[in-house]
């Protein structure tokens, strides 16, 4: 699975430009899978259930955060805005990659007050262009942060772990899942990072009876960080609440029960800031019981998002167990 995670995370896919990720996922799908791409670009894979099951939607988003060029200056430097939640701190000295493969280096102006975290308009990108006329990049072009996948002890690190790790997990579950009573929809969504946009529309189209997002969450296990009772290596995080939704208690209990029955250690997740696709699916049409299985992740929204490989495998196991049996969500 690590090679799959490597190719997924190294793929180019800022919100609105998920084509390459979608193509890669399509190549990895089990043969003969029933697929369609909806108007927004969500990739929907359907797997018919044996009988007596529910219509369950699992969502992982294909898009990642990035930047969009807002101005090419007189000397050929680029100014940019954010695509999704871009943090200033990890930017300086970093590199970005445009769809055509062009690399840019992120630079920072001389600051009047170096003690304050600079806003994005103080940064620029250098693509090595001698002037605006020779600049290979146009206003409106988007780029992703550029960083290779690496293994670090028991952890794996990459850009866009949020949420290619979720995409990898869905693919793995699709491959490994045996007989299931459920009608399953594996949905690889677009534009999550700019406001859970693809999940709402695909949720409407799929009209599930139960929905689960598989996405990353933050942790509280690094030096002097904000407190949060989620740690790397302690297993899947079962969402209770985040800033966009309250997980359906029946769905949450189903996941907790499944973990317990399977001897899979897991953690209860309360995320103070941030949300997932589940929040949009939950309020589509007349409402959908929704929950989320999260992968604890350090350094989220930086080019080095770190997860524990054991956690990833445990999420796959949890989902395989949960989907193999009939579901009771009360």
């Amino acid at each position: 699975m690590k090679e799959l995670i490597r190719s997924l995370t190294e793929c180019f896919g800022p919100s609105g430009h998920e084509e390459a990720v979608r193509a890669l996922i399509r190549r990895e799908l089990p043969r003969g899978a029933e697929t369609r791409v909806d108007a927004m670009g969500n990739l929907i894979v359907h797997r018919t259930g044996a009988a007596g099951g529910r219509r369950i939607m699992l969502a992982a988003h294909m898009d990642e955060i990035g930047i969009v060029v807002t101005h090419v200056d007189q000397k050929g430097f680029l100014r940019f805005g954010n695509v999704g939640g871009v943090l200033s701190m990890p930017l300086t000295g970093g590199r970005v990659r445009f769809a055509q493969g062009i690399t840019g280096v992120i630079g920072l102006e001389k600051l009047e007050d170096p003690s304050r975290v600079p806003s994005l308009d103080k940064f620029y990108i250098d693509v090595g262009a001698p002037g605006p006329a020779d600049c290979p990049v146009r206003v409106g072009d988007v780029a992703c942060f550029n960083r290779d996948f690496e293994e670090v002890g028991a952890r794996i690190v990459a850009k866009a772990m949020d949420d290619r790790i979720g995409c990898a997990i869905l693919l793995e579950v699709m491959k490994e899942l045996g007989r299931s009573p459920h009608d399953l929809y594996f949905v690889f969504t677009v534009q999550e990072e700019v406001g859970v946009r693809g999940a709402g529309t695909s949720g409407y189209g799929v009209e599930p009876e139960i929905a689960l997002a598989v996405d990353i969450t933050l942790t509280g296990d690094t030096p002097e960080c904000a407190p949060m009772a989620v740690a790397l290596g302690s297993g899947p995080a079962i969402k209770i609440k985040d800033s966009g939704m309250l997980a359906h208690t029946g769905v949450k209990d189903w996941l907790l029960r499944t973990a317990e029955a399977g001897g899979i250690p897991c953690q209860r997740e309360v995320l103070v800031r941030g949300t997932t696709d589940a929040s949009a699916i939950q309020v589509s049409r007349a409402g959908v019981p929704a929950g989320c299985v999260s992968i604890p992740t350090r350094y989220a929204h930086s080019p080095s998002e770190m997860v524990d490989y054991g956690d990833v495998e445990a999420v796959v196991q949890l989902l395989l167990r949960a989907l193999a049996e009939p579901v009771d969500i009360g």
């Binding site: 609105g16 807002t70 200056d73 206003v139 695909s202 189209g205």
Partner: protein, 346 residues
């Protein structure tokens, strides 16, 4: 000129009746069906020639930013709230017209002689400001301008330059988005290959509300939002580009804070503009939001694009628009829509 009539009509978010009446009168004989929905959107159908199976929504919002009376003081001056995004700095000393009877009032301002030292370089917040309708006391003020009454800037539509001089700028209020409304009326003159659903929407300025229900009900295959967007090519010491430039043609939105334009539609408009030599520009990414923010998320998703007439000083009492930009926006919308491939739906 329709743009003038629309600009001078009053219609803050939630009170679009006057604008809608003008539009209804204009389009009634041009369309195959029309209705006013539960929120007040005016929705019209112009059937296609039958050569395309598509159903395309074209939307423009009727509402403008303005004020609402919230209470009267004992002295007879009125407190108000802003409806939509207005910069507090543009308010003092403005003449406003309140309610359907257009009761005139002035947003009070302290004469310069009376300003304390600190006051001179501070912006007075809108909740500190009052509207003076010349009432001598609370009762009289409440009669003239009851609580909940709306107010708009008293702005006459004026042609700024001699149309034959090449500069064809006009000045007025609410070009955002009466310019879009006027273009949409024009588009309804002809038949397109597809069924065109025209939506003149309500409450855009307070959160893209009308468009949401219009798109939900009309189930379009694609959507075009006609807007009027800020041009701000003011001199700056930094090497940056403005949101859009007046006189540089219609602005195509690539992405803003509310949505990402469908790349196929961007390509369609880009190609149409190039091949027909229609001047055009791209709005600087990440600025503002339009009805497309609601429409593209309707139901199972609607590929959308926003095309806008640039105008200076929008969301203020007087904005300036170039009629050539206005005409080119209509021309590009028309040309691109005619080219929409019949197999556009995935």
């Amino acid at each position: 000129m329709l743009l003038q009539r629309l600009s001078e009509a009053h219609g803050i978010a939630g009170h679009e009746e006057e604008v809608r009446a003008v539009l209804l009168e204009q389009i009634r004989d041009r369309v195959d069906a029309c209705r006013i929905d539960g929120m007040g959107n005016l929705i019209a159908l112009k059937k296609g020639t039958g050569s395309s199976p598509l159903r395309v929504l074209v939307a423009a919002h009727m509402d403008e930013v303005g004020l609402m009376i919230t209470s009267a003081e004992e002295s007879g001056v009125l407190r108000f709230a802003k409806v939509g995004g207005i910069d507090d700095r543009v308010l003092p000393a403005r003449v406003v017209l309140i309610g359907p009877k257009r009761v005139p009032g002035v947003i009070g301002v302290k004469p310069v002689h009376l300003l304390d030292k600190g006051e001179r370089d501070r912006v007075t917040e809108s909740r500190q400001l009052t509207i003076d309708v010349g009432a001598t006391g609370k009762a009289e003020a409440e009669k003239l301008a009851p609580r909940g009454e709306f107010a708009v800037f008293a702005t006459e539509f004026i042609a700024l330059s001699d149309p034959s001089s090449g500069y064809r700028t006009v000045q007025g209020k609410a070009f955002d988005d009466r310019a879009g409304c006027a273009i949409l009326v024009e588009l309804l003159q002809e038949r397109f290959p597809f069924d065109l659903v025209a939506a003149f929407t309500v409450q855009e300025e307070v959160g893209l509300r009308g468009a949401r229900v219009a798109a939900g009900a009309e189930k379009p295959d694609a959507a075009l939002v006609l807007e009027c967007t800020g041009a701000n090519e003011v001199p700056t010491t930094r090497d940056t580009s403005p949101s859009t430039r007046l006189g540089s043609g219609p602005a195509i939105t690539l992405r803003d804070t509310s949505f990402i334009s469908d790349p196929r539609l961007v390509e369609l408009f880009r190609t149409a503009a190039r091949e027909k030599s229609i001047p055009h520009q791209y709005k600087q990414p990440n600025i503002g939001g339009t009805d497309a923010g609601s429409i593209h998320r309707a139901r199972d998703g609607v590929p959308s694009l926003t095309l806008a007439v640039p105008a200076r000083y929008i969301h203020s009492p007087s904005s300036i628009l170039d009629l050539t930009d206005f005409e080119n926006t209509a021309a590009l919308a028309r040309e691109a829509l005619h080219r929409l491939p019949r197999g556009f739906v995935p």
